[in-house]
């Protein structure tokens, strides 16, 4: 790994570390490390825009200087955060048990395969090479975001769809890592950020599950999830969806925590991650009202006004990246070709509900219960969720189920009304969000909490029995 790539990774981590230690949403060291990298990757994707607006070239020196500056700013006042950091890195939080090793080895092996493929191959998906990577490659070649892709190529061709106008996160990360790799070596294609993002999210996700359930059960849940071929494939194929799912699910998890702890930093953290999800895929903004509804619905009458304010803040903050990219940058800053159609919505004059039901049915048949996309992971979720709901009458996980159901409903409406949105591509990859949320739900379900309790009490009892018997034996 070259020094410049190491520098980018390190500064991105520091940027996130400063922000996360300021907001304090993490409850253990591994979560903090994962969240820091995710935030750092997310925030640094705004840097090429800053360079563009300051009339600086999109080149290594200004970018690296910007990264170092951002890292330095985010670390201001770190000295005062020691009291927060110390308990997160205690031995009890960090110790890995023997029983976790098989799962860690399995994921490590899968990640090695994924990282090798991601690094060796160039960008292959059609959507990427005519979209984010096209924009990034020419921004790096021509040192500007308003490259010949927008100024001469697109206006001169008759056939093009909306991939070059995809939300900017993926293109911006490609720019950062293409500049760092400088066209040589293993990471010449600038895709390393995807592996970094997958590892960071995986670390956070596992650390959170491990906090809520017994580590063996958390390990098993993530192993079940890891055996989802479609989810695995997109850990090495650069697209917008994996990053979107990672940011979105992190945001939802933090919002869920906020519902329980009412810690303000956690709420701001969730705002940040949900806004980053909208920065990664524009249609995410249509899912945000689910969160706003939950904030209002979960709050008692006494605090209703505050809840409505929080719900409005959530909507407002998440719409900022969407408005900036779609109206500020694309329609305001970049000269778009006259025949561009961005986000065209259409109405359905006849048989509205019949069409909508047909779409929901198609979503279930073609994606949710597809033979090989997710192997058994959806069935495991359904099985445990049924037991959890009907046997344990668990109400704690209802907000997460509301998210899952809300996403499904909203996807159907999007497919019906937005031109270009479809089941085989849009929903197939959009389902990553739903699948990951399914396992967040399972991790906090009463069934798994009950099982965790049984395992922990068995460990405790065994130790207690053993030490209680010991004096008798020795006597």
């Amino acid at each position: 790994m070259s020094f410049s790539i190491f520098f980018v990774l390190f500064t991105q981590f520091l940027i996130g570390f400063g922000v996360i230690t300021y907001l304090r949403p993490a409850t253990n060291g591994y979560s903090l490390l994962g969240l820091s990298m995710l935030v750092g990757v997310g925030i640094s994707s705004g840097l090429p825009f800053a360079l563009e607006f300051m009339r600086l070239p999109i080149a290594r020196t200004p970018l690296f200087f910007g990264l170092a500056l951002l890292a330095a700013i985010s670390l201001v006042g770190l000295r005062h955060r020691r009291a927060y950091l110390q308990p997160l890195f205690t031995r009890s939080h960090l110790t890995i048990r023997f029983s976790e090793l098989p799962f860690l080895a399995f994921w490590g092996y899968l990640l090695f395969i994924s990282a090798w493929k991601c690094a060796w191959y160039p960008n292959l998906p059609f959507d990427t090479i005519v979209g984010p990577d096209l924009v990034a490659t020419f921004a790096v070649k021509e040192h500007t975001l308003v490259s010949s892709v927008f100024t001469s190529h697109l206006p001169s061709v008759s056939v093009f769809s909306n991939q070059p106008f995809y939300a900017p996160f993926t293109a911006m990360q490609q720019i950062v890592y293409l500049l760092a790799a400088d066209g040589v070596g293993w990471f010449a294609f600038g895709k390393l950020w995807l592996t970094v993002l997958v590892v960071a999210f995986g670390l956070f996700f596992y650390a959170e599950l491990r906090e809520r359930t017994h580590p063996v059960l958390a390990g098993l849940l993530v192993a079940i999830l890891a055996c989802s071929p479609e989810l695995f494939a997109y850990t090495f194929l650069v697209q917008t969806d994996w990053a979107n799912a990672a940011f979105f699910v992190t945001g939802v998890m933090l919002l869920h925590s906020y519902g329980q702890t009412k810690q303000r930093g956690t709420f701001i953290g969730s705002l940040l991650f949900l806004a980053l999800a909208c920065w990664t895929r524009t249609e995410t903004i249509f899912f945000i009202p689910i969160g706003s509804l939950l904030i209002v619905g979960q709050t008692g009458h006494a605090r209703k006004i505050l809840a409505i304010r929080d719900a409005a803040i959530l909507l407002l903050v998440c719409s900022l990246p969407v408005v900036f990219w779609n109206y500020g940058f694309l329609r305001g800053y970049v000269p778009l070709p006259s025949h561009t159609h961005l986000g065209v919505a259409h109405t359905v004059p006849d048989h509205y509900f019949q069409n909508l039901l047909a779409i929901y049915q198609g979503m279930a048949e073609q994606v949710v219960f597809h033979d090989t996309y997710w192997n058994y992971s959806v069935y495991v979720f359904l099985g445990i969720a049924v037991v959890n709901l009907f046997l344990f009458r668990d109400r704690r996980g209802l907000p997460l189920l509301f998210w899952i159901l809300g996403l499904y409903v909203q996807f159907g409406l999007l497919i019906l009304h937005v031109e270009g949105a479809n089941i085989p591509f849009t929903f197939r990859r959009g389902f990553f969000k739903i699948l990951l949320l399914m396992y967040v739900y399972l991790g906090s379900s009463s069934l798994l909490r009950w099982l965790s309790g049984r395992l922990l009490s068995w460990e405790g009892q065994s130790l207690a029995n053993d030490s209680a018997q010991q004096p008798r034996k020795t006597a």
Binding site: R97, F98, S99, E100, L101, P102, F103, F106, I113, W116, K117, W120, Y121, P122, L124, F126, I129, V130, D133, L134, T137, F138, K141, S148, V149, H153, L154, S156, V157, S158, V159, F160, Q163, P164, G183, V184, W186, A188, F189, V216, G219, L220, A223, I224, C227, P229, F232, T372, N375, Y376, E459, S462, L463, D466, S467, Q470, P471, T474
Partner: protein, 195 residues
């Protein structure tokens, strides 16, 4: 600490490790059982086999051109050909995809000529040549210097000459310039449809 307390601690520690060992065995068993299920087994076996085949074949080849050739296949072959033969002042006329699907299917059936999509060509070629398609005005079409021509079910890079230009353009005009099959499957369906 007296020796009795030490012994208790050691025993307790050993028992804790024994429990951890049971958990380790349980974890291994659960993981193996999970991976043994038919769908998981098939997926993992094929993923691992494919990975080792690729790694054995490719890990020593780290040059960019090899990686691009392996990744892009036909697209890389044909765009390299264009780069070798054309200069920045030349105009490459993108033939209608339908024309190539109809006349050189053998060569393009694996990709469906998806790499002919203008932005894919621009991704590979950049400013090394001007790209124009059949929707361009006549004045621009007359400036075209190169295109792909199908002959005997194969694809050739054709240099325009005054005598062949009208023939080529009139043949290309028989096909819809706005049609695009985005996947090999869509291209196959078009191939099977009646001309």
């Amino acid at each position: 600490m007296n020796s009795f307390a030490c012994r208790i601690m050691n025993q307790k520690n050993r028992f804790y490790q024994f429990i951890q060992f049971i958990y380790l065995a349980g974890s291994c068993l659960c993981l193996l059982l999970w991976l043994w299920l038919p769908k998981n087994r098939d997926w993992l076996t094929s993923t691992v086999e494919r990975f080792y085949t690729q790694r054995q074949r490719l890990s020593n080849q780290t040059s960019l051109s090899t990686r691009l050739q392996e990744g892009y296949g036909d697209a890389y072959t044909f765009t390299s050909l264009i780069q070798q033969r054309c200069g920045p002042d030349d105009y490459f006329l993108i033939p209608p995809q339908q024309y190539l699907i109809r006349n050189a299917w053998q060569q393009g059936k694996s990709t469906g000529y998806v790499w002919l999509y203008p932005s894919v060509l621009y991704y590979h070629l950049g400013k090394s040549v001007h790209l124009i398609d059949m929707t361009a005005p006549d004045s621009l079409l007359q400036r075209a210097t190169h295109t792909f021509w199908a002959y005997d079910n194969k694809l050739f890079l054709l240099t325009f000459k005054p005598h062949n230009r009208p023939l080529v353009i009139s043949v290309f005009r028989q096909y819809d310039p706005h049609f695009f099959a985005y996947t090999p499957d869509q291209a196959r369906r078009y191939k099977r449809s009646k001309p």
